[in-house]
């Protein structure tokens, strides 16, 4: 049992590490783009710091989202929760709102298509925003 707990922990830890690595890779790519754009180089420590920061902030976001969903007496995280999360930054909020409307539109269209066809339409739309990922499943 203890071994199971340990292995679980180890698995979680390794999973976490893999996630961190993925985040680090993504941050690196983004920083390269910005570096090309602004003609300013990023040091490795900077990229590492940014990725660590992003990871921790994602943890916070996740907890907040869960709290918001529970506050609204739901068990599923919603776009409303995400919008609540992004309210501090005006530009981010606007961006997310636009995206959510886009997604809502797409969903409506798909529903319309679904009625015609029997699709197993589950489209995952990922938002590249820092706020996190919004998944809308049908």
């Amino acid at each position: 049992m203890e071994e199971e707990a340990e292995t679980e922990e180890q698995q979680r830890f390794s999973y976490q590490q893999r996630l961190k690595a993925a985040v680090h890779y993504t941050v690196g790519c983004l920083c390269e783009e910005v570096a090309l754009d602004k003609e300013m180089q990023f040091s490795k420590q900077t990229i590492a710091a940014i990725s660590e920061l992003t990871f921790r902030q994602c943890e916070n976001f996740a907890k907040d989202l869960e709290m918001f969903a529970r506050h609204a007496k739901r068990t599923t995280i919603n776009t409303e929760d995400v919008k609540l999360l992004a309210r501090r930054s005006n530009s981010l909020l606007k961006y997310i709102t636009d995206k959510s409307e886009e997604i809502a539109q797409i969903n409506l269209e798909r529903k319309a298509q679904k009625k015609k066809k029997s699709e197993d339409g589950s489209k995952n739309s990922r938002q590249p925003a820092e706020a996190g990922v919004v998944e809308s499943e049908n």
Binding site: D64, M67, F68, H71, A72, K73, E80, D81, L84, R87
Partner: protein, 583 residues
């Protein structure tokens, strides 16, 4: 009357009646003073041997000074009446033991209560020779014992407020408060002089001063609340008005905007400045800033105004003003030189009193008291200066100068009474009068401006005044509550803080609370509600990290809130295990 139930006697009326009954023997107490002294001495010795704290000293003193005019003081404290009745009783019994035994019946609670209620009355202002407390209650003659009692009594108020009230403060304060309480104090003085002749002048004066102190005590708590700033008032006391004026002459960049933009100079600085000074959150600054601003404006005014006359005059003017300000503060009533008209003197009187009151409210130290006297005329001077400036502009042909020119006409000794009507006086005549003013002592025109001050709020001619005083009241209700937090902040900072820093703190607090309230509103809307509920607050605190999985909201409520709120917020806590659903 011999019954002893101080606590049950809660109505001042009954106490007063008792006091009045005991007041008759006031004069007969004179021959009894020796006995009273001996009784008091015995009680003193007993008390000191027992505890030796200020409590007992005060009790002993009160037993001594039962003769303090009862009628006057009864209104203030019933404990005094109580003390007096006790004292009467103690006097009635000649034995030490009885007196001490009578005092023994007093519980510590009543003693403390008496002290708390009467501590302000005890005089800090004792003759310097008596300041040193007599540690041991040696058998002394009644006179010295009384003086020592007074000194012991001095201990009490000295212990409570760390600094501030010093003998110097009370001297001018006494004088100034006499202005307001003339009739009252006359009666008090008479009563005290009658009853306390045997006890010596020290106690009598101390009592009167203690009465004065009661008005001054509201000033103390502010300094007590901020021991970190306790060092301040003594430093301010050391600064004299002349230094203030000189400093202001050197630095006077801020006021000019107020002066030049203002088309109705009299109204704003006169009416606005007290408001400005009142709304300042940091009271230790007020005195210095008041004087600074006042003197700054004064210097500004004197600067341009004196250009034409003589460049050398400003220095003389200011220096003269410094002295005159002091003279003015001390005996303004007498300095009506060049000012004609009794009606002018009276409004001047009121104006200065108002200024004094305002200053007193802000927690004044000695120098501030002088500064108030200085600021009164200095504010007057600023009005002067404004008029001078505007006159200078008017001389150049500005239309606005007419308004201030008109108001500056108020300054003049001749045109003061007709200030509302003299609005259209010509700038030239004003200049001529200004020359006269320079020649005359400063307080005279200052007095004139003060006299015009009460008249000006009534004037409809000054439309900008409501405009400028408008923003101030508008801001105050919003930030009224934050000043408390700012004061807390400055207290915990334990070091002096600039006013701008405090303003920034206030802004940050404002934004912070705005954020919090917005969050609460959004949380409520998120849950589909229109009312903010405790769940929203819990969510907020969870985001803040105050409420965690280990620490719940109820735990925080129990930790930090008083018991009443706990009962409110945690329904189970007080229910006695019978909890019914909300619906």
């Amino acid at each position: 009357m011999a019954d002893h139930n101080p606590d049950s006697d809660s109505t001042p009326r009954t106490l007063l009646r008792r006091v009045l009954d005991t007041a008759d023997p006031r004069t007969p107490r004179r021959p009894r003073s020796a006995r009273a002294g001996s009784c008091a001495l015995g009680t003193l010795m007993w008390l000191w041997n027992l505890r030796g704290t200020g409590l007992e000293r005060l009790r002993a003193r009160r037993a001594l000074l039962e003769t303090a005019s009862p009628r006057k003081l009864s209104g203030q404290t019933r404990t005094i009446a109580r003390g007096r009745s006790h004292g009467a009783r103690s006097v009635g019994r000649s034995a030490h033991i009885q007196a001490s035994g009578h005092l023994e019946e007093q519980t510590p609670r009543t003693l403390l209560k008496n002290i708390l209620l009467t501590a302000p009355e005890s005089s800090i202002l004792m003759p310097e020779s008596v300041v040193k407390p007599v540690p041991a209650p040696q058998a002394v003659q009644p006179s010295r014992q009384e003086s020592s009692c007074g000194s012991l009594e001095l201990q009490l108020p000295e212990l409570e407020p760390p600094t501030t009230l010093a003998p110097g403060l009370l001297a001018p304060g006494r004088r100034k408060q006499r202005l307001r309480l003339s009739v009252f104090q006359q009666g008090v003085d008479q009563g005290l002089s009658l009853s306390q002749e045997p006890q010596g002048n020290a106690d009598a004066s101390s009592l009167t001063r203690s009465l004065n102190l009661t008005f001054a005590t509201p000033l103390q708590p502010q300094s007590v609340q901020r021991p970190g700033l306790a060092r301040r008032p003594p430093a301010r006391r050391a600064v004299d008005v002349g230094a203030f004026l000189r400093d202001l002459r050197d630095t006077s960049l801020a006021p000019p905007n107020i002066v030049l933009e203002d088309t109705q100079p009299f109204s704003q600085p006169m009416v606005g400045s007290p408001n400005v000074y009142h709304s300042l959150p940091c009271t230790p600054h007020t005195g210095a800033e008041d004087a600074e601003q006042a003197a700054g404006r004064k210097t500004q005014s004197s600067g341009p105004g004196l250009q034409k006359n003589s460049p050398g005059k400003p220095a003389q003017f200011l220096a003269g003003e410094a002295e005159e300000v002091n003279a003015f503060a001390l005996g303004f009533l007498s300095t009506s030189s060049g000012v004609s008209g009794e009606d002018e003197v009276e409004p001047l009187h009121d104006g200065v009193e108002e200024a004094e009151k305002k200053m007193e409210e802000e927690g004044v130290s000695v120098s501030e008291m002088e500064a108030t006297g200085a600021q009164g005329p200095s504010r007057v001077e600023e009005a002067e200066g404004h008029t001078e400036v505007t006159e200078a502009e008017g001389s150049q042909g500005t239309a606005e100068a007419d308004g201030p020119g008109a108001s500056s006409g108020d300054e003049d000794a001749s045109g003061r009474a007709a200030s509302p009507e003299s609005a259209s006086s010509t700038p030239e005549s004003l200049q001529a009068r200004r020359h006269h003013q320079f020649l005359e002592p400063a307080p005279a025109p200052g007095a004139a401006v003060l006299s015009s001050e009460p008249a000006e709020p009534l004037l409809v001619r000054h439309p900008p005044r409501p405009r400028t005083t408008g923003p101030r009241p508008r801001q105050d209700p919003h930030k009224a509550g934050l000043s408390h937090y700012v004061k807390l902040f400055s207290f915990y900072a334990k070091m002096p803080m600039e006013r701008k820093a405090l303003e920034m703190v206030e802004k940050c607090l404002d934004k912070y609370f705005q954020h919090l309230c917005d969050d609460l509103e959004v949380f409520a809307a998120h849950a589909g509600r229109k009312t903010v509920k405790p769940e929203d607050l819990e969510l907020l605190m969870r985001r803040q990290g105050l409420v965690t999985d280990q620490v719940s909201l109820h735990v925080l409520v129990e930790r930090h809130l008083p018991l009443e709120y706990r009962q409110l917020l945690i329904p189970c806590a007080y229910s006695g295990n019978s909890v019914f659903p909300a619906q």
